[in-house]
Amino acid sequence: MKSFFESMVNIVRGMGDALWFLCDILGHILCGRIRIGEVLKQVYEQGVQSVIIITLTSVASGMVLALQGYVAMSRFGAKEYISHLVALSLVRELSPVFTALVFSGKAGARITAELGTMNVNSQILATKTMGVDPVEYLVVPRFLGTIIALPVLTIISEIVGIAGGYLIGVYEANIPGAFYINQTIKAIRYVDFFSGFIKVAFFSFIISWVCCYQGYFTRGGSLGVGQYTTKAVAYSYIYIIISNTLLTKFILTFWG
């Protein structure tokens, strides 16, 4: 009973720390304590590092969607509408979620591991002793890097995924190319795009928060870096999947 109570207290305290840390970061951003050069460096590092794997995932999911869609739609004699299936699934659901999951495993893990290593090697303390604010110099750029890179990657993923579907649609299902593209453009309405985009915005916020927090508060040497990095990725996955379910329900209720 006592240990249950203690662990509850610890959880609440952890949430308090994480919230406080988030307020600190947002405070820096609102006060304009942003180092543009560092942010761009992070966007580049996090974004470029993930481009290949996200492209691969997206092409594959676009193709698989089209292949499965071909089978399913053919039963109703509606194979022309593969393009709708592919485009809507990607834009509304799959691209945001897949990109966020892959991104947290690559760039998110990297953020935590970097900050964690700096922490256990006293580099964060050293930053303070040199009169430089470590949140401003080390955390805010990583935080904003994720917030900027992930939406861009998601758009890349949507385009590439639709291209993957196009390949199958045109060469496998023999739908005319121009028709396929036309149908795709018709299929995606603003609401589809934005409902996906709200999700991405939310996910990028979660990933950057979780991964920066875990890294900045890493303890326990190189062992700790491993543990906290794994934790950061696991938490990101869980929060992405749970919030995706809630957001989907929420968005469907308000926009249909």
Binding site: E114, T117, M118, N121, S122, Q123, L125, A126, K128, T129, M130, G131, V132, D133
Partner: protein, 238 residues
Amino acid sequence: MIELTNVSKTFSGQKILDDISLQIGTGEIVVILGESGTGKSVLLKHIIGLIKPDQGHIKIDGQDISRLSERKLLNVRKKIGFLFQEGALYDFMNCFDNIAFPLREHTRMKERVIKEKIQKILKLIDLQGVEDKLPSQLSGGMKKRVALARAIVLDSKILFCDEPTSGLDPIRSRDISDLIRNVSKELNCTTVITSHDIKNSFRVADRLILLGKGKIIADGNRSFFEQSNLPQVQEFIS
């Protein structure tokens, strides 16, 4: 002028600093001696405000460090050079950028001037040619010297060095001790060094302080230490 009054600190039930009071005058070079684990690093981290005392006050030039907000502390620290025991160089930057970091952050020096300055410092620490190397490509002793260069590059009036000579060979230890003394005397810089290397401590210090069990056991100059008949002191210097 650095002033500690009744500073105490307990870590998980263990009293590391026990009611320590201490004054260090401007331009003085003080070496804090003590066995491993007595709290030398903890004491230094208190003086620069990385750790807050449970009780007591720490003043630098009249300003109470233990009361300042984190943002004000950052401003105070711009005037202070600090060498970490483990070096703590940024491992994503090469040595040049590491040493240049404080200059780029806190001065408006032109890149050309920075370059000249760093060449000069690298010569002082006998490490010409490491500019483009990453810290991970250096030996432990080399890292330490680069970290020392970073600590002194701003010509601060206050310098803290946590074990500047541990991990160095005897000749380098001597050279680094002399370097710290020269730099410090040239700038009339208040210097606090921790060490358990008694020979070089005698070489560099104006005044030595022996720490044990959270208390100051002995405090005096070289001849005081050599003539002292306190058992802890004799044990330490023999």
